[in-house]
Symmetry: C2
Subunit: 141 residues, 2 copies
């Protein structure tokens, strides 16, 4: 039954094109945004037809929280961020997804939010893979 539910999930096309998969967690597809202005992760619960967190089962809500916070703590550790920003907005892409972003004093839109601000910048060659490797290590330790 669980397998069947996971099979029904199809990643939104915009999320797919704007981010790269880092790993599959118990519930989510953990992805890295292609926008290099901020270390920016996105967790997408692999459940079909979800737009709000409260639509998930209570167990899935707990899993999502623990996976989000495990990701947030790892991101804080490897970046030394001033503050982690967590958000579930979905005004543009309705498929349920949670942003986990490392923020620094003086970054591109500090202390404002990252969403809808300016233009995405691509990662320099190698930097993205380096960051993903660090993140995977932090998440497995």
């Amino acid at each position: 039954m669980e397998e069947c539910l996971l099979d029904d999930f199809i990643l939104d096309r915009r999320l797919e094109s704007d981010s790269d998969s880092v790993m599959q967690t118990g519930l989510c597809d953990l992805r890295l945004s292609k926008d290099a202005r901020w270390p920016w992760l996105i967790l997408v619960p692999r459940r079909a037809n979800m737009t709000e967190i409260f639509e998930l089962t209570p167990l899935d809500q707990v899993l999502l929280t623990f996976e989000t916070e495990m990701t947030a703590a790892a991101l804080k550790k490897i970046t030394g961020a001033t503050k982690i920003n967590i958000g579930a907005l979905g005004n543009i892409v309705r498929q349920l997804h949670v942003h986990v972003i490392a923020r620094f004093e003086g970054d591109a839109n500090w202390p404002g939010p990252v969403w809808s601000f300016g233009k995405a910048e691509p990662y320099e060659a190698g930097k993205r893979d380096e960051f993903i490797a660090k993140l995977r290590e932090a998440l497995s330790s």
Copy 2:
């Protein structure tokens, strides 16, 4: 011991001046933003010295999730919002707090985020109390 922990909590002055208390939940002070542009709630876990969700105990993280989502579902129900936005940013006010905001197509900054946008607008007389009454009813049913 629980009482002692709760007693150590002091609400941040800016959160206090920018919002009104709606009720105390198991973990949080549930507050309504004074900015009338959006139906905008704020949950402040009554735990001292917290800035990131992952600093809370696992049990408190679960409580925060359930209280946030109970609030989000009630807000969706009473407003008929297009989308609920949830965020824990804290770039300006570091005391841990979670925003739960009702968003509508065509609202003041749709589909962009609400934070750092324009100037807050006050509630008309009576409208705030009417909204708080509806919210309390939705949360107790």
